[in-house]
């Protein structure tokens, strides 16, 4: 520890300007900083919980040495997590008196704004999309806009604008891409391998220099709040005004962003965001792709991490059930000591996980299903996208040569106080022929496994009914039928 140098301020680029901030609270949000400290009021507050996108800005960061710009929600993004980043707000684009940016001009020409309050957020989300894919499909546009609410236009005009952006300018000429090298160099210069410690007493945060330093920091301060993507912790602050000091920001620790596969097991570092994990997971375990696409909006997926989704222990987190069904394990680390446990054993009770003080989730390891193993996950919500799960079922199945069920793992979210296996249902399946009759018989066993609650997302009756019907859907999927088994926005290509 003595070898780690420290610095007592954060450094980032805001639009064109280098910013050094020493006086910043652990719970200071980017949105408040922009609006109150810098009077950059193009970025709006619509909900302060990362669900409406009115506060969307782009954050550029070095990912494996490469500069990537991603849309994020400024309302739940803490300042401490911006060290070494480039923040781009709507003010960095064109101005109404000067020439507008292609994204902006398309929005004007296609009548993409009415009241205009959500518009800067839409402009920034579309800007992020356009830089990554200049000729996006409708599916990609909708995905990029899942985290942006508009109450006036009905979106059709915004879609028309989004399709036309490249008619107004070339991505290659975009200032952020033209200046990519220079910005990269400036951000590289910020990386000095130091630990950042800002503030004191009850107003303090730490950005560890690397994973080993994180382990040391947490061992020394086991009650610290670990903040990865802040898509959950952000709300503790904006909605519940909880004190999160001392906060430990881990989003930009390179060592936690590792994503690798070895002997059929994918290891995902705790800092890997949904967006970063998407390509690998959707390729290797295709059923996870559409699920990840329905977690939060694009901004949340750009910030939120699978590690955080597990570590916070929510009964409605979307990744634990499928990872449990896949037989995932977890590496927990405390100081220099690591231990590996099965993911399903991590969840003990509501709000209680198998994690010692000072211990943190370092990585999750996910076995890729073999050929011949079936895997599916289905999420049920009131609204298809950017909604929190009412019930979510994950199914992993291995059949014996004679067509009977050899092994099966079924896990649900939203049905109990933790993500939970359906052991009675599984027992009713194992050893039985994999037929609709067997499935029907097993569906009757759900009441042994789950007594779901009624809340604002669904009644217990609906949860129970939809949950067991998902088993039938899964069965039908394994029969190779060509008939459509669920409604879909876009037909499979």
């Amino acid at each position: 520890m003595a070898t780690i140098k420290t610095r007592n301020h954060i450094r980032f680029i805001l639009n064109g300007e280098d910013v050094t901030l020493g006086n910043v609270a652990p719970d200071a949000t980017l949105l408040d900083y922009l609006r109150l400290q810098r009077t950059l009021r193009g970025t709006k507050e619509g909900c302060a919980e990362g669900d409406c996108g009115a506060c969307t800005v782009l954050v550029g960061r070095l990912s494996g040495g490469k500069l990537v710009y991603e849309s994020v929600n400024a309302c739940i993004r803490f300042m401490g997590s911006l060290d070494g980043c480039h923040v781009v707000t709507v003010e960095h684009l064109g101005t109404s008196n000067g020439k507008l940016h292609p994204v902006q001009q398309a929005m004007v020409d296609f009548h993409g704004s009415q009241c205009g309050f959500c518009t800067p957020g839409f402009v920034m989300s579309l800007y992020g999309l356009w830089m990554a894919s200049p000729e996006p499909s409708d599916a990609l546009i909708e995905k990029a806009l899942q985290g942006n609410l508009c109450r006036c236009t009905g979106y059709e005009a915004i879609m028309r604008a989004a399709r036309a952006i490249s008619d107004y300018g070339k991505v290659a000429k975009d200032p952020l891409l033209v200046e990519r090298k220079a910005i990269t160099a400036r951000l590289e210069a910020f990386k000095d391998g130091t630990r950042v410690e800002v503030g004191e007493g009850k107003d303090r945060f730490v950005i560890p220099a690397n994973v080993d330093d994180l382990a040391a920091v947490l061992e020394a301060e086991p009650t610290a709040t670990v903040v990865a993507g802040s898509t959950d912790v952000g709300l503790w602050v904006t909605k519940h005004m909880r004190n999160i000091s001392p906060a430990v920001f881990i989003a930009n620790i390179d060592g936690l962003h590792s994503l690798s596969e070895d002997k059929g097991v994918i290891s995902i570092g705790a800092g890997v965001t949904y967006t970063e994990a998407f390509e690998t997971l959707s390729k290797r375990i295709p059923a996870l792709g559409p699920l990840i696409d329905r977690i939060g909006g694009q901004q949340v997926r750009n910030m939120g991490t699978i590690g955080g989704n597990i570590a916070n222990g929510s009964p409605i987190g979307d990744t634990p059930p499928p990872l449990i069904a896949l037989g995932a394990t977890l590496t927990l680390r405390k100081g220099k000591t690591r231990r590996t446990i099965s993911l399903q054993d991590f969840f003990i009770a509501y709000g209680k996980q198998d994690r010692a003080p000072g211990e943190f989730v370092e990585a999750v390891h996910v076995p890729v299903p073999d050929k011949g193993e079936h895997f599916a996950v289905h999420k049920i919500t009131k609204r298809r996208d950017e909604d929190i799960t009412a019930t979510l079922g994950a199914f992993w199945l291995k059949l014996a040569k004679d067509g009977t069920v050899d092994q099966v793992r079924i896990a649900y979210g939203g049905m109990a106080a933790t993500p939970k296996r359906a052991s009675a249902v599984e027992a009713a399946l194992v050893g039985q022929p994999w037929t609709e009759a067997t499935v029907e018989a097993a569906m009757a066993r759900y009441t042994d496994d789950y007594t779901p609650l009624t809340d604002m997302r669904a009644t217990s009756e609906y949860r129970a009914l939809a949950a067991k019907n998902l088993l039938l859907r899964f069965y039908m999927e394994t029969t190779g039928t060509k008939a459509p088994l669920q409604v879909s926005r876009y037909e499979a290509a």
Partner: protein, 786 residues
């Protein structure tokens, strides 16, 4: 943008009426430069307010200990009802039942009890949580489903409409059906929440910058609360970040609190609610329990109908009386009822007081009408569209007798037949109906549904005095024009449309007409921008002002150049006087030098309308706007999940002032209506707490909820039957009920699981849960029937 050189040879001005113009603020919207209240530079020393809300749904206040609040960092003051210098009431209906801050009792969970005034908003919010409030709890009524519409408490007088003898007609009808529909409410979810900034002036004066649809009403209530004359209070709003009715009366509480604190402390005060407070403490669209009984013949002709529209008013009257009235005014939708009896019941509950929301009860009335159509269709075994067409009002020009509404107004301008016929054709209804039947026969888990629903929407406030507007137009000596009127901009392009009208009158390019913030100091005693009437009323008032000035210019020119007045003709950017042409700017300059008044106040009142509420009779609406929508859905019968495959809309905006703006209103209205009837669910727990108070739990449509195929067209042949502004029609509210097509398409898909033999009686919002439960119910009923 600031420099404009008029083209003196132009054939037409740029930006006149009936041309497609982009929103006047679009450039500022996309650049983040459009200024909303919270974006304005705060005066030095601005204070901020945080609210202390009730934790129980109903109770008397036993003790309110605010000592910890007062001692919290940054706190300057804590306001309670005792700090209200005038009357502690902001009831817009004069019922005196809407306290600014609770006094003695609380009547809903989330009712403001006190307001913390602090140096920063953060400090105010934190301090507000430190109060110790004790209540003696009283029994609370949270929902209307089990209330008695005769015996239980109502917040205001119900309305009854009566024509013919409904009871006798139903009793004598060959067939009868009775039923009930539960119809949920809706949160406005304007993206900009409620916000006000009050800046104190000298003496009694205060200026309130408020995100309000009704500046005059806000002014009136702020003066009432302060105990000062209206002349002391100025309310100004340049634009809102969405309104949808939610800022018609609901803006007044923030405005009042900001003004009280500003006057007390002689400092500017801002009140901005966070999203949770906004959704918890401000009113919404009313949920309704609709009881109906219909008598009909074997063909499906409706002979008599009886409705009870019970609406959840919440704890106070607010606008619940007129909202219930408008539900009754639209319980016919586009259908003629030979005999009808309809009654409203604005029921008291211990929930937030419900309020205006785009359509103002009209959509709820129409949903009731369409449910009745469905009941009849299933009973006689016909496609619902056939039953709809069978029961339409007589079309325009038909000297028939099927044209009297339940409120005894004659429908003279009915064009629903042509709209439905054209839409049926363009949407290929018949072919798709057959294809869907074939698809469903072969699909076990996915069922498709199709529906085509009409809309007839009455345009005018039923409160007669609201049907007036004012405008103030100045022509400056350089020929540039300053335009002001009483309407407010909430995204609907009202200012643009009115500016187009003014440009047209003067025959000058739109760029010469400056749009300015709505303020009570320029145009007094205005109606709220509501009831879709913004362009109709304010466009006429601005036209009146412009015409007064134009007449003075004409008289001046005729006099100066010694020509008859009919030889003074306004051409694009110039005026022909006799044989010569003078630029508009030059003529204005000459007029100024000759001391001609170049400013005018305009006024307009809607003709023809009258309404006798006690008798339930009158000419309640100046005219009707029409349209129809056709929607197709796919439903998963295992989970109730669905997608909207396609929607086609044909909508009537008369001779549109600006088709680009109107298309945006139709598209946005449809999606908002669809959201109301599908995924937007308000959910209160057993303690009366709203648990869907943020976008994480309250689900408005996303881009990915749009119909996969979405065709929207305006009728290119219709014009307003009455001499409205350039024969255009109102467009704010009428498209919202097109969302009914989605509800009925879902219902149609559900019906397929029982061979279309049982009316699904699908309630709204038709969440995946309600859809699945309806499927299960129909399957059980079908099994029982066999």
């Amino acid at each position: 943008m600031t420099q404009h050189t008029p083209n003196l040879k132009a054939q037409k001005i740029s930006g006149g009426v009936h041309t497609d113009q982009r929103h006047d603020s679009a450039h500022k919207h996309v650049a983040g430069e459009a200024v909303y209240i919270d974006d304005m530079p705060e005066p030095a020393g601005t204070l901020h307010v945080g609210l202390g809300l009730s934790n129980v749904a109903h109770g008397t206040l036993k003790s309110v200990d605010l000592s910890a609040v007062r001692a919290a960092p940054g706190v300057v003051d804590v306001l309670t009802h005792a700090d209200v210098p005038g009357d502690n009431d902001i009831s817009p209906s004069g019922m005196h039942d809407d306290p600014v801050l609770a006094q003695g009792k609380v009547q809903f969970h989330g009712q403001p009890i006190f307001a913390v005034v602090a140096e920063t908003r953060e400090q105010a919010r934190r301090a507000a949580r430190l109060a110790k409030v004790e209540y003696d709890e009283l029994p609370a009524v949270i929902s209307i489903w089990d209330l008695d519409t005769e015996k239980d408490k109502q917040v205001t007088t119900p309305l009854t409409l009566n024509r013919g003898d409904a009871a006798a007609a139903i009793a004598a009808a060959p067939r009868r059906i009775k039923g009930r529909m539960k119809l949920g409410g809706q949160d406005h979810f304007y993206l900009e929440g409620q916000v006000s900034l009050a800046v104190p002036g000298e003496d009694d004066e205060v200026t309130v910058y408020c995100s309000t649809q009704g500046p005059s009403e806000t002014q009136h209530l702020v003066s009432h609360v302060l105990g000062v004359p209206s002349h002391a209070v100025t309310v100004e709003v340049r634009r809102m970040g969405g309104g949808f009715g939610g800022k018609e009366t609901q803006a007044n509480q923030c405005a009042a609190l900001a003004a009280i604190a500003a006057k007390k402390h002689k400092r500017a005060v801002k009140v901005r609610l966070d999203r949770d407070e906004d959704m918890t403490a401000t009113g919404k669209r009313h949920d309704f329990a609709i009881d109906y009984e219909v008598g009909f013949d074997d063909e499906g002709n409706i002979l008599g109908v009886d409705y009870m529209f019970a609406l959840n008013a919440g704890f106070s009257a607010d606008l619940s009386g007129p909202v219930g009235d408008r539900a009754l005014f639209h319980c016919d939708n586009a259908y003629f009822y030979p005999n009808v009896h309809a009654k409203s019941a604005p029921l008291y509950t211990n929930t937030v007081s419900n309020t205006a929301f785009r359509g103002f009860g009209g959509p709820q009335g129409m949903v009731g009408a369409e449910r009745v159509i469905d009941e009849v269709a299933f009973a006689v075994g016909k496609d619902s569209l056939e039953i709809r067409k069978l029961n339409f009002y007589d079309q325009i020009g038909t000297p028939g007798e099927r044209n009297l509404t339940p409120y005894h107004q004659k429908v003279e301008d009915c064009i629903i037949q042509r709209i439905v016929a054209e839409l049926e054709e363009s949407a290929q209804y018949a072919r798709r109906r057959r294809e869907i039947a074939a698809f469903n026969a072969n699909s076990r888990f996915i069922k498709r549904g199709l529906a085509l629903t009409p809309v007839k929407f009455g345009i005018s406030f039923t409160k007669t005095e609201s049907n007036q507007a004012g405008a103030l137009v100045h022509v400056y000596a350089d020929g540039s024009v300053h335009m002001n009127h009483g309407g407010t901009e909430m995204g609907q392009g009202l200012h643009l449309k009115v500016a187009q009208v003014v440009a047209e009158e003067f025959q000058i390019d739109l760029e010469r007409v400056k749009i300015t913030a709505t303020t009570t100091a320029k145009v007094p005693n205005t109606a709220p921008t509501a009831a879709s009437s913004g362009a109709d009323l304010n466009g006429m008032a601005a036209q009146d002002a412009a015409r007064q000035i134009r007449k003075r210019l004409t008289d001046f020119a005729a006099d100066k150049y010694q020509v008859p007045v009919d030889q003074v003709v306004f051409l694009p950017n110039r005026v022909r006087v006799g044989n010569q042409e003078i630029s508009f700017n030059d003529l204005v300059k000459q007029a100024y030098l000759n001391r001609i008044q170049l400013s005018a106040a305009g006024h307009y009142k809607t003709p023809k309308i009258h309404w006798d509420r006690a008798k339930g009779r009158g000419h309640a609406f100046y005219y009707y706007a029409y349209g129809a929508a056709c929607a197709e859905v796919s439903v998963d019968v295992l989970t109730g999940e669905y997608v909207v495959e396609r929607a086609d809309i044909l909508h009537d905006t008369g001779r549109s002032l600006n088709r680009a703006i109107d298309i945006g209103q139709v598209e946005g209205g449809f999606i908002q209506g669809m959201g109301w009837l599908t995924t937007e669910e308000l959910w209160w727990d057993g303690k009366g707490r709203l648990r869907t108070h943020a976008p994480s739990t309250y689900k408005i449509p996303l881009a990915s909820d749009r119909p996969k195929i979405f065709n929207v067209a305006l009728t290119d042949w219709s014009e307003a039957y009455e001499p409205t502004i350039h024969r255009s029609k109102a467009v704010g509210e009428p498209p919202l009920p097109h969302g009914m097509a989605v509800l009925h398409a879902l219902s149609d898909a559900v019906a397929s699981v029982a061979e279309h033999k049982i009316c699904p009686r699908l309630d709204a919002p038709a969440t995946p849960e309600r859809v699945l439960m309806a499927i299960e119910r129909l399957r059980a009923e079908a099994a029982q029937a066999q």
